[in-house]
Symmetry: D2
């Protein structure tokens, strides 16, 4: 039984807490939050202890793993403290948005040997994973082109946008950049990005890019396209298409129901699931399961810090390309 | 080159005339219609001769085949005259609605040896035929259940309905009864039918059945369901589903375009094609081609008078069951 | 917080236990099973108490509801004991297969006033419910035809089949009969059924019907078709189609992933979900939630004993029709 | 009745000839081909006259329109001769691959006032056109992103490839570039292209690009992605996706049949139509109809020389970008 200390009881925290509680091999032991009331409510629901003091929880020898659900800028410090306390670390993406900070983190993880997992949850979506396995199984032969659509139904609140300029790359497409690397088992050597501000000033007062297209050229020669928008009014649009010498694979969207409505004016279906937590509900449960089993089996978790570092490097290159207009080369 | 005398220049006549004109191995030589103006217009368009006198056209030794597009009650007499004139006969369904008249026709065809084809065009629809070939190829093993939906967007005009009571069986489902026999290569031994009048008195003043369900039990044991309605507001709904020991086959509907429209209120597509001539355009061209090639190759056309007779017998049994409430046995 | 005593720790019991544990307004207090080891394992997992003695659990005043997951023949007696103990009752379908036993149960429930719910879970499937709501909302106007496909990937084990002859009606289609009543808000007045034995003697040694079609005529005039099979090799096939004066609604099947595979030989997708527990996972959680809220709000649970009785009556009529060949009338 | 002189009896010529013959307002009067036998065969089939001498046909005052189906490098000269002879001109794309030659052509057309149509047939595909009309009708509000997939099942023969290097832009994507301009009613201001050689040396001995991605930035701000390949083993893959402030439109692929095959290993459907003539059969008939009606109504044909010129300019920019690696600016 792997006992967890969950840090950060808001936003995604309760989801992870519920998944820990439901997992046969895991138990929620501590909830840590600066807001003790938040920590307490979540802890009570799942029979855990609550504290605002991370060190107190890390001092509990029963705790085997720390799950980090706090805001991104706090991740690196908590990773390092957890690693030094000898705990396995499950961290929401990103590790950090500052590459030097990520590198420092990497050194601590290396020296402590703490198992580390960065939660690019989409790798665990059943459809995306079936696509991955079909590529690995050789169904389409050598992959030649990859096309990803990654669109949110709405933009983040202004203060969130202000805190992370170019979030369309750092926060959204960073998932897609990880998917590209994982699906193709290859690294990009060139990044070209273009952005636009399509939303009204009311919805996007900081005029941060809300629409983007990126073209990647991979070391192995494959060409990749990613597009993103912050106003897909029809729902959370998440599609992956892989084209290769022997065929094509498409991981399509998901809808709340399968109902078809035939009327005099045509055929109607539900729009797409709107919220990422609903869309990727299975992914969150499966990534936890994979992490728990990795710790049990003493193997490295499936997605490591180097994966987080490389996805961030691609996002940085995309920002640089969008700003300068030039193609940006990436060293492998 | 097979030269045709087309009898009946209205309704479906111009469609068949155009298909003859477009066929590399066929030519339209004569158009016969009691209304000489109708005959003349169609003949001129395709470089044929026009007449109101069937005998004149049948006397032309260049004519190899007669295509009958007149109202159903005139079919049998024209079949017999054409057969006695030594012509191959392509006849729109049905042969006749009176079984004794069909039997008389059969004798003439037998004695003259004239090749005969009754145009159950749906057998030539690419999707239905692919389903047929999949069954024959053993894809679903032994067929166990068959489900057919056969719905029109509207009821026929009142005078047409008055002239053919229980047209839902005699005119519409007769196609499905033929499909059942063809797809399963088997004959029904029991017919159970139920009907309803769902349309308003305005649309269905004669209160003839406009909605029906039929259950058939086949000699080989398979169970069959057919349903029909005369007010499918969403279009001409034509589906076939075959279930067997190794799987299921579905011939789905067709739509005018492939456009998908994603909006805040869901996803919309076109409704179905609304007119049978549009829906079965390919079938009409393909049935003609098959007939022409049968004559060329001196083989029997694909659908003979016995097929017409048996489909009519099932329709008669359905009417009897709907009226009496009893299951009606059919001798093989 | 509604405290549950769950009776029957095998088969569907653990699923219901997990749903109770996950529900914010429910708690699992007791697990009762004749096999104490079974009861103990399930109780431990969810922090409940275990016993082989139903009376002991019923004596606990904290227990507000009894959930019955035992074999069907034991349902009625447990319902009565729970009702007499003043508990609300959540019972897996069917109430009983003997109508006089059901009637006796009804009297006890009436005299005790115990809230009662029979778990026709399909009413809570999101897609089926969206179809229901579309009918109620008038989207297709008056419903005229209903077509249900209800097929299992395999037949039950021989001893299970031996214990419940005509299980295709009593165990499988009884769900569909409930759906028909619920969707149309109407009762059948006539039932016609036909069956076949299509499976090999190896898989179906008792030669109990494994394939069936039923036609229902409703009091309001609508026509209904239901078909069922015990060897849908492609998965658990559960479709509902409602046709009416203004259109058609189809609740389609569900697949494990959304992956499409395009190759030189065509396009492939996953088959259907194979297990009813997986297919109807959401239904089980939602029916529990509805039950808990009904008790909280002191309203009658959504599906009562009369619903169970009427579905059983239709199944009985179907058996009678299949045996005799006649149409069987049902009094309203 | 518009009488046509068709120039070039091979390849696409017979298709256009048949469409002229089938059109109620058009007639095929002449077939011109350097190979008199080719001209003769096609002319005989449709009751036209044959010649190897273009001037002879152009001298016929009954001829109102010239349809050009010859190889691309001959288009410009024939356009000019036809225009000077006072005929309306229907020309297969492209006008020419040399921009100065296109410009010279434009002057002749301007001075003669001859109606001119360049056959970007995809604009007349029913699904693509429905997408166009949905954009124009405001269904998705302002278009923000456009994604086009344009893939052939195989590469052209080596000599064809040798004669037109970068044919993936000049011959294939030129259609997509025209679609982009038409759909968005806007012009690109920047073109970025990347290519790859993925085919074996056996299939692509000249190592001309067989795989490509292009990113366009439009004057109005919209971002566009186009991808192409010469080995879509699953068929001729032609999709358009338009994303805007109010939704998304997708023009999907077409399949030969609607058959679905459910088996123990999943669900299978037909692959895509494989040949562009089959895929775009309706487009060819509809573009002819539009041309004939334009001449009748004395309005300019729907797609003029300037459209051909601008599509070519985008293709040239794509080649330049692919070669240099730089983004290429386009003046409006």
């Amino acid at each position: 039984m792997l006992e967890f200390c969950l840090v950060g009881g808001g936003f995604i925290g309760p989801l992870h807490a519920a998944n820990i509680a439901a997992h046969p091999g895991a138990r929620l032991a501590w909830v840590v939050d600066l807001d003790v009331a938040v920590a307490g409510a979540l802890a009570t629901k799942h029979g855990a202890r609550a504290t605002a003091n991370l060190d107190a929880a890390l001092a509990d020898p029963a705790v085997g793993a720390v799950m980090i659900c706090t805001p991104p800028r706090t991740h690196a410090a908590i990773i390092e403290r957890a690693a030094r306390a000898g705990k396995a670390v499950f961290c929401e993406k990103p590790v950090d948005l500052d590459m030097s900070r990520v590198d420092a983190c990497a050194k601590v993880l290396e020296s402590t040997g703490a198992p580390f997992f960065v939660a690019f949850n989409r790798r665990f979506d059943p459809s995306h994973r079936a696509l991955f396995e079909a590529i690995r199984g050789g169904e389409i032969g050598r992959p030649e082109m990859l096309v990803l659509s990654s669109r949110d139904p709405e933009i983040s609140p202004p203060d969130y946008v202000a805190a992370m300029p170019y979030g369309i790359f750092y926060d959204t497409m960073i998932h897609d950049f990880d998917m590209v690397r994982w699906l193709l088992a290859d690294e990009p050597v060139e990044v070209i990005a273009r952005t636009a501000c399509m939303l009204d000033a009311k919805d996007n007062p900081h005029r941060d890019p809300d629409t983007a297209m990126v073209m990647l050229r991979m070391a192995g020669g494959a060409l990749v396209h990613v597009n993103s928008s912050f106003r897909a009014v029809y729902g959370y649009d998440q599609r992956i298409e892989a084209f290769g010498e022997k065929g094509m694979l498409i991981s399509r969207n998901r809808q709340p129901t399968t109902l078809e409505r035939y009327g005099a004016d045509g055929i109607r279906q539900d729009g797409l699931l709107r919220f990422f937590i609903e869309r990727y509900a299975e992914s969150y449960a499966r990534e936890l399961d994979d992490f728990v089993r990795a710790i049990e089996e003493k193997r490295a978790p499936a997605i490591g810090l180097e994966d987080g570092r490389r996805a961030l490097a691609i996002a940085e290159a995309a920002v640089a390309s969008a700003k300068s207009g030039a193609a940006v080369a990436l060293l492998r």
